[in-house]
Each structure stands twice: as C-alpha cells, then as structure tokens.
Amino acid sequence: MPSHAETFPPDAPPPRLELRGITKRFPGCLANDHVDLVLQPGEIHALLGENGAGKSTLVKMIYGVLHPDSGTMLWQGAETTVPDPAGARRLGIGMVFQHFSLFDTLTVTENIALGLDDAGRMDELADRIRSVSERYGLALDPERHVFHLSVGERQRVEIVRCLLQDPKLLIMDEPTSVLTPQEAAKLFETLRVLAAEGCTILYISHKLEEIRALCSRATVLRAGKVVGATDPRQETARSLAEMMMGAELSTPERPPQGAAGAARLSVRHLSTTSDNPFATNLKDVSFEVRAGEILGIAGVAGNGQAELMAALSGEMLVADSESVVIEGTSAGHLGPRARRTLGLAFVPEERLGRGAVPELSLSENALLSGYAREPLVRGGMVHFGRARAYAETIIRGFNVVAHGHRAEARSLSGGNLQKFIIGREILQKPKLLVVGQPTWGVDAGAAAAIHKALIGLARSGAAVLVISQDLDELFVLSDRISVLFHGRLSDSRPTHETTVERIGLLMGGLFGTPPDEDGEITRAV
C-alpha cells in the first residue's frame, strides 16, 4: 500500500477511513451528492438520516457492493478503491446487515465457514468461534443449528463472522431493530469493548436515544447530502430528529382515554398448528380489544406475530370458530372478505407485496381492499371513476407524496406507501383496525403522521390493535400492552403502570416472574 503519511503531521495518525466528495447517481435520483466522511480509529460513529437519505448507498460503497461515480476513498491515509465485498474484507472492513444471510438448517460453524474467504478446518474454526465469542461476551454455541437460535443469537453469528477477520472498521446496519432492550444493552457492551481495542464502528440507526447513548460522533445525511456533523451526546433526540428531517417535529399527543366501550375483537384460547416446522404456533392466546382503545402487542419478531396476524385477518383459518370473535360474530372460519364486511380493516407488516401490489397504480391499490366497504364495484363491474376518486381522497387526506393516482405503488417511498395503506384502511371507517409494524423503516415525519391517525381512529370509537417490535412506538400509542413470546401472550398491563424494562423482560420470556418495580436491569439506552 503506498504511503501518504507525509500529508499528515507525524504525531496524528491518519483517519481509519476518509471519504471525499463521494457521488453516486441512480437513474432519476442522486443518491449521494459529494459526501465527505471521516472515521477515526476506535470511534463509534453514527450515520443518521431518514429513509432514502442515502445511508444504505453510502455504506454499500464502503463495503464494495456499489461503486461511486466520483470521489475518493482513503483507507488509513492511502487512496484506495473497493472492487467488491471480498476486497473490503481484505482491507479489514466488516459489515453486519439488517437482514441476516444464514442457512437455517446448517450449524453456526458451517454458516460462518460459508461467509469466510479462508475458513480452514472446521474443528479449528469452531475453537476460534468459541474464543472470539467468549472474549467479546457474545455467548454462542458453534455446534447448534441456526433454526434453534433466537434473532439476537443469529445476529451474534453475523457479528462473530465479522470479528473472526479482525476488522478495523465494522459497519452495523440498524442492529437493534430486532433485539429486546436487554439484548441491545449487551450488544452495546460488546461494541464498546471493540471500540476500546481500536476498531472503528459505523453505526446506522434511526433510534436516536441509542445513538445518544452509544456514539461519540454523528454525521447526518439528508437527500444524499451531508447536512451536519455533531456530537450526539450534546444533542437531544428531538434536535437530532429535526436535523434529519430539516423541519420541526410534531409529536402526537395522546388525549386521555375515555371509558372503554364494548369488545370489538375477542380472541379466546386461540391455538394454531402449522405444517411448517419453522412456524411458531400460537398457544392458548386470549385477549380483547374494546371500542376506543389501542392494545399494543410487543415481542421480538418470530414469536408468533405472523401467525397471529394471519389468524386475525382470515388468511389462515383456525380450527375453532369461536376463538376469534369480531363484533360479536364468531369469525374463525370466515375468510378475509367476510371479516372485512364485519368491520375489520387490516394493515399487514409486509407493505409491498401484500398490502399493495407493486406494479399496480394507486387507484387499483385503493380497490384492493377498498372494494369490501366502499361502493367501488357495482354488478361485478369495477367503477374505475370511484376508485380513482377514493385514491385521490387518500392521497390528499394523508399527505401521500406521489405522482397522482396513476403512480405505481412501488414508485412510492416506504413511508408514503405506508401512509397510503393506512389511509386506505382508516377511510373505510372500520370498527376494528389491526396493524402490524405500522412505522417499521418509516421516516420520523411519516411515523408521527401515522401515529396521529391511529390515535385519532381509536378516539373516534374504533378498536385498534398494534403489533410491533418497536417499544418506543408502543409506549406512545397503546393504552394497554401485552407481550408475545414463543406463541404465548402475556396478560396486558395499562401502559402507564408498566415500564420499558418490564416489557423487555417479558419479551425475553420471563413470564410469571415479575421483576422488582425499579429496574435493576438497566435500560438499553
């Protein structure tokens, strides 16, 4: 590697990584516009920005997945290019992606071997995995099969895979979005140890409290440009959010709940069985959602949320018709269409590909679920004029940024598509709304609008059920909170009587052993 050390004063080591004027253009969009970024050895540096601000593009260029159109990259002071991820790993750059790439039916060691460029002998590799996981407090059994592992453990596999290559720079993309607060706290300990050993960590997250607790430096991107660099410890979550958005943040206010009305949804002793060995069966789940209230169901993904959603929407029929009662009617054997007629509206977790058809226009997507409760179909014929008008009403009422009702669903950003889908469901004036992950991956502005709409719907007399992994969100929205763990649902608690710590312990499976009221266990942030 050629040395450029002479350009620096001899006493200051060169930055670990320096980006100068990095620009990347995609057809129709400038993803990164002359981005400058300096990462020092041993620092935990946050990369902040709303969806579509260009964070992913930037880290993909650092990791060699994409290549910049212009600009220079300096690795430890020397100009370099990263041709591909293997090249990045050779330099000492590791990355933990938001979505894991693990094979369920292979063991931890086998999975790690697949991701290494020189795995060596399997038994030696297992020993190395053990020693690394002990050193950094990442408990992991190399012989176990991945399908036995919790999400937090799977993430450890990915981290250990990076650590085995002695990275000098570790990129973490939204690492805590799938973790309980306690798991997140353990991850932070590991990251602090790594940083103390001189490894640089580039940390991407939209959880601002985490960034304030963990990072010493933050670079903020907006619309592909660096709009600021700051020390997050000196900022508030609100000021960071406003930097990201470039506008003032309005937080939704939750007016006090009136007396809860009649039960709109009763789930009684709901159990499911599935042919799929990787599905989580629901076990004796019972709860009620009453008119005018929001019930939140917390839990780490994969604990039965998908099964609960399908059993409520009617996409999966349940054995006992009485175990799902909507508006007093036993609905366990009714399909989605009949349940909609009873007053159910539904927002699935998967927006593009379930909640909306990517290739179809917004007016056709308005028809997708709107046909059941809006007069869009007459005598078997589609009333396209009305579907268009309905789409326009949603777009106006929920400030959806789109090129009119003709825009394809896939052309919308995640936040705008979610506003459209939630608007489509709410404008049907449902008696009961079930929402999965309402603001997952949605930028702060859209999330606030969605929260406001959900609270408004509940206060107008509808029953709302929110299933989410985001505890902050559930504490903003819910009147009561339950936790789903391994297919079982805890009793609900009024939100004002519980704490993030207690819910976090329930998410980790500590049912029936309530901890002391004051949290001895420190909160993640």
Partner: protein, 358 residues
C-alpha cells in the same frame, strides 16, 4: 464465475413491450431468409410464397380467417388463465373434446335436426371442453398437481378417445370402414358468412370472445382479481380474493372456449368428425396468447399472423416443394425470438467475470 451474465435493467421500457412482438417477427423473417438460402432455395421467392401470396386472393384471405378462428377462441381463454398463473397447456385436448361432444350431438340427431341443433352443439362443445379442463383444475386444487403436466397429458388421452370413436361408434355406416363419421346434415353445419370462402359463423364467435375477454380483463372485478393473483398472490390473499374460484373460472372458461373452437371445426370447414381435426391449434394458441401479450386485441392480430404461417407453410410446400416441417420451424422461431427479446428488455447481457465488470 460464468462468462455470460444477465443483469437486471431496473425498469422495463413500456414501449419495448409492444415493440418486441414486431422485432420477433422481423428476426423470424431474417432467419427464414438465411434458412432458405442455406437449403438452396431462392429466399425471396420462398418468403413470397410463404407470407405474401396467400394474401393476394379472396380464397387465401378467407382461409386466413378460417384458421385464425380456432386460434383466437383457444388463445383468449388461455390468456385469461395465464394472467392468473393458471398454466393450461391442454387447449388441444379440450378442443378435441369439444369436437367429440359437439360432433356427437350432430350424429345423434342425424336425420331429425332442426334450428335448435346448432345452438345445442355449441353448448355441447363448450361443456365437453369445460369438463376436460375441469380435471386439471380439480387435481390442482385437491392434490396440488401441476396443471401444466395434467392438462398436457390429457391432450393425448383426448386424441386416443377421438381415434377410438372414429374407428368405432362414430364411424359412417356407409363409409367403407374409413375412420370418419357421416357428413353432417345442413342443420348441423355452421352457416357461411362470406360467400366464395369457407369463413363460417365461428369467426363471429371468435370476435365475441375477443370483446368478452377484453370486458372481463379490463372492466370487471373478476378481471381485477385475476390481475392481482397473477402479479402478487400474497396481496390477493390479503384482499380476500378466492384463488380457488379463479383457478376454476380460468380453466372452465378456457376449456369451454376451446371446446367451442373444436365444435366449430367439425361443424365448419370439416363438416364431419375425422381423426385429424386440428393441426395443433391448441398448441399454437399458446404462442398466439404470448405473442398477443395476453391481450384479446393483440391475440386477434397474433392469431392472423399464425394462421398465415399455417397457410403459407402449405402454399410453400406446394409451390416450392419445401418440407412440411417448415410451418413448425417458423412457429418455433417466432416464439423463441419473442421469449428471447422479452428476456433482453428486462436484462442486459454482460460478458466476462464479475470482477472484470466492476
């Protein structure tokens, strides 16, 4: 690492979707030119005999319509299924069954016909085709058996059934044991629409199928459900569309249309039930459906083009002494070039290894 890779282009161009069928036709003609040259024929003369000469006489134009009629009827039904990911490859067998049931009615009421016989034969043909298509529908929904295989295999069963019938129960008692039925009486023959040609009432059915198919696809709620199921099955489940109902509808409808096409052949240009009622209309209709972009109007144009390949193939055999296989060669090339251009509007070809590209 492979040396040829396909890279997604991102957005496929809307114009190209309509240009590629024309491109495929042009490439087919070019390849035909080279093929004729290599075989030692005068390519200009051969292509003229194949594609131009049939269009210069009233009789030729009439034949074009006669051949396009069953293609349109089969392809409109297939296209509705293909849009919903229902892959009916059995139009040939359903057409054969329509000929057996429709033609069977003509023979059953031989000598006692009336104005009611033709409508009855139309219904009989439709029911025969639909029943044949109901088998793959049932097998798919009950046992999750691929309708591609089951419908294809039933084509051979239908053909053997037809062979049995013309050698046995359907055989003309005064026909010197030739494997064919009596000639139908006037009450059982579709009226000629264009005198001097063999264009029959079936052509009108084909036009009605085009109009009805368009209405179904573009305007009805069923058509919308078909579209959603075809594009994103998960979204159809979310919306509560009944996918089983759509599978039944697609197969029964395409079976009925193919059955009407088969009835139209025996009650139209053939005028009796024989062992050879179709030169592969049911298979060619698959090409027609894709060449027409699964759109009824596109199918009408594509069917005329494919009909020309049938007639031109015959004409070229007679005029130039070209082998019979020439028709199949041209149809195959057309489908090949269409599918290839489809891939190339969505992907671009890269040569060399990944690293060389980066």
């Amino acid at each position: 690492m492979s040396f040829i890779r396909l890279e997604p282009r991102g957005q496929a161009s809307k114009t190209m979707v309509y240009v590629t069928p024309l491109l495929a036709v042009a490439l087919t003609l070019l390849s035909g030119f080279i093929l004729f040259l290599a075989l030692g024929f005068d390519p200009v003369k051969a292509l003229h005999a194949f594609f131009i000469a049939p269009l210069t006489s009233v009789r030729g134009l009439g034949e074009l319509v006669v051949k396009a009629t069953p293609l349109v009827l089969c392809a409109v039904g297939l296209a509705i299924g293909f849009r919903a990911n229902v892959w009916n490859i059995g139009a040939e067998g359903q057409l054969t069954l329509g000929a057996i049931t429709g033609g069977g009615l003509a023979l059953a009421f031989y000598g006692e016909g009336g104005w009611w016989l033709l409508p009855l034969m139309v219904i009989g043909g439709a029911v025969g085709g639909a029943v044949w298509a109901a088998v793959p529908a049932f097998l798919r929904l009950r046992f999750n058996a691929s309708e591609i295989l089951t419908s294809l295999m039933l084509n051979y069963v239908a053909l053997l059934l037809l062979n049995y019938l013309v050698h046995g129960p359907y055989r003309d008692p005064d026909g010197f044991a030739f494997p064919e039925s009596r000639l139908f009486e006037a009450d059982a023959v579709l009226p000629i629409l264009w005198s001097g040609t063999r264009v029959h009432l079936g052509a009108l059915f084909a036009l009605l199928a085009v109009a009805g198919g368009w209405l179904l696809i573009a305007r009805t709620f069923i058509g919308f459900q078909i579209k959603v199921i075809g594009l994103t099955p998960a979204a159809a489940g979310y919306a509560g569309f009944d996918q089983k109902r759509i599978v039944w509808l697609a197969l029964l409808l395409s079976g009925a249309l193919a059955g009407i096409a088969g009835m139209g052949e025996v009650a139209g240009p053939i005028g009796q039930v024989t062992a050879g009622i179709s030169p592969g209309y049911g298979y060619t209709a698959i090409i027609v459906a894709f060449l027409g972009r699964l759109h009824p109007v596109g199918i009408l144009l594509a069917a005329l083009l494919m009909a020309l390949s049938f007639i031109g193939g015959e004409a070229a055999q007679i005029a130039m002494g070209l082998p019979k296989a020439i028709t199949g060669v041209f149809q195959g090339m057309l489908l090949f070039f269409l599918l290839a251009s489809d891939v190339l509007i969505r992907y671009r070809v890269r040569f060399g290894t990944r690293r060389a590209v980066a």
